[in-house]
Amino acid sequence: MTIIIDSKAFDPWKVLDDYQQNMPHLEGQYGATAVFVGTMRDFNEGDNVSEMFLEHYPGMTERHLENICKLATGEYQLLESLVVHRVGAIKPNEPIVLVAVWTAHRKQAFEACREIMEDLKSKAPFWKKEQLKDGQDRWVKKNTNGY
């Protein structure tokens, strides 16, 4: 189980490649890997967005992400899990979040990945401020429901 909060841009496929190479003890055990990547779009609620700033609550954010992954690990028998989340200034087309889980069977992988993502969206203290193309900025007021 690994939680990374980072202000640097990351390549989700490179991160997954590296992470999986450090799982030799799980070779032959996992039959299913489910991954979600959230990427910054250049439009939201009908407006063009040129940049975004992601604030978080240092300490609380890490703790809640850890709790979310621990709960999912028990409920879905996760063999491994990885969450990476950007903070700070983000440009369109850059990944914001990566959630990956490894399980024996696919049902658990699909459900755990989605549940971690939804819990993150509703409980992990992150806040987005969008900078619009016209120069204005605004806090995103609420998340969309993912179910």
Partner: protein, 81 residues
């Protein structure tokens, strides 16, 4: 010992910087719940209905008790991911 009060995102824009409530002030103003903390730090601002509250990084509601040494935070609905 004191209580540290933090505001994040749009809540910081609304209220301003973090505030620290010392022992003396806590006694003088009989501050014992999160609601009391808001009234003391928010300078008359109405608390938005959807505000989230954490004491020592755990979610609580306004009736939660606070004590010296606690860290209290007010913030809007989270929008990460």
């Amino acid at each position: 010992m004191s209580i540290e009060v933090k505001f994040f995102a749009s809540m910081r824009d609304l209220i301003g910087d973090d505030c620290e409530i010392g022992s003396e002030t806590l006694k003088e103003h009989t501050i014992s719940t999160v609601d009391d903390i808001w009234d003391h730090c928010a300078r008359g601002k109405t608390r938005p209905e959807n505000v989230l509250i954490a004491v020592n990084m755990n979610y609580v509601d306004g009736k939660a008790l606070v004590k010296e040494g606690d860290e209290v935070a007010f913030f809007p609905p989270v929008t990460g991911g």
